[in-house]
Symmetry: C2
Subunit: 237 residues, 2 copies
């Protein structure tokens, strides 16, 4: 524990990934699919939709697609996922499903964990969602963020440098004063490459079925089961 | 009361001015001056500094000065104010005084008022301060903002259109869904000119001496003594 604390010396800001790390998108989206699209396997539909998330963001970052807000990209991937299930979604179904990302539930430890961590650190969302979506997510779940780092502030998507360094700049922090907290190793690898510290959070049920092995790196500064254990490791009562 | 409520129909966002409206800059800055600059009339010094605030922001908006963060502008006006008192401030004194704006106290009703209002509305800071300053102010005073609208998001200062409409856009709101809350009529006049609703808050002690008459307009949608009365008027328990 002492060795661990030493590596996080100087951290002032905790930057949290949101979908998957603080919220349980699978439960929220599969419930919304079940309520909105009759006759499909809601869990499989939710996973199919989510699998199309990272690739379309990468197309924006590569320049293949122009910048668009996450809701617009999610609308496009939703229709692509629906086509796989031979489903035609009308305007109202589309709106309801895209908006469902605003009210997905937090993991049970998220709201109390953020509240604890806020007493010792600046707690920031650093998300590919827009600020407006993050406001809705926070109000729905009681997340007491200090600051919302939405992708629309920088018009870039993680893992682009502009997001990690943009948040550090906004908070007048050096990259080494910011610790990225995520359940996804690629997010942490990118953050580390730009000088941030990293904390891995285990979310074995992120995809709705238990993952026996979650890929993670030994280079992460911290590794915790959830945000309450992270608070323990960071010495925040 | 019924007539009043009708005028604010559809408001989803309350956007708060910070210096003067939710915080008592006079008490905070005059105390910092007294502790940092021996032998001057701290209250007069604080007022002299503050009188130079709006004019230098206006010079940035007119294009006479390039965009700079509020701390940098406040450094310049601090030295100009100090010159009036025939005082030379060293680097440490300058840093302490400029940073004092980060920990000025909230008016007693501000933190509990914001907490009440947050249950019915999106509560946003809309300030000429930077996001980083607003984070420090919020943590120091227990302000539970939903979102921080700092001037560095838009690189513009109120009363510029980009700030009011920038916040509305960020929150996916129409201007009419946003109510500007301020103790300064010019801030509200600008907000109204861009389509926002307005609420005037009385802060007769803003300048450290009782103001018998605070200029305000009958065109404001609401007029309240403080944020608790504003919550009453908006029907938020």
């Amino acid at each position: 524990m002492h060795a661990r604390m030493a590596t996080v010396d100087g951290v002032r800001v905790l930057a949290f990934d949101t979908f998957g790390t603080v919220t349980d998108w699978f439960s929220g989206i599969s419930a919304a699919v079940a309520a909105t699209v009759p006759g499909v396997d809601a869990g499989e539909f939710a996973r199919e939709w989510r699998r199309r998330y990272a690739p379309i963001l990468a197309q924006v970052e590569s320049g293949d697609l122009p910048w668009r807000r996450l809701d617009d990209l999610q609308t496009e991937t939703l229709h692509a996922a629906a086509a796989m299930f031979r489903v035609d979604l009308d305007t109202d179904q589309t709106r309801r499903l895209v908006c469902a990302w605003r009210t997905i539930p937090g993991w049970p430890d998220a709201a109390p964990g953020l509240r604890r961590l806020k007493s010792g650190f600046i707690v920031a969302a650093l998300s590919n969602a827009t600020v407006a979506l993050l406001v809705d997510m926070a109000k729905h779940n009681g997340f007491d963020w200090d600051v919302l780092g939405g992708s629309d502030l920088w018009r870039h998507y993680k893992p682009a440098r502009e997001t990690y360094c943009g948040l550090a700049d906004l908070l007048e922090a050096t990259p080494a004063e910011v610790m990225m907290v995520a359940a996804h190793q690629n997010d942490l690898d990118a953050a580390r490459s730009f000088g941030l510290r990293t904390a891995f959070i285990e979310r074995p049920m992120e995809w709705g079925v238990p993952s026996m092995q979650i890929p993670h790196s030994d280079e992460n500064d911290l590794h915790a089961r959830d945000l309450l254990e992270l608070a323990d490791q960071l010495g925040v009562p």
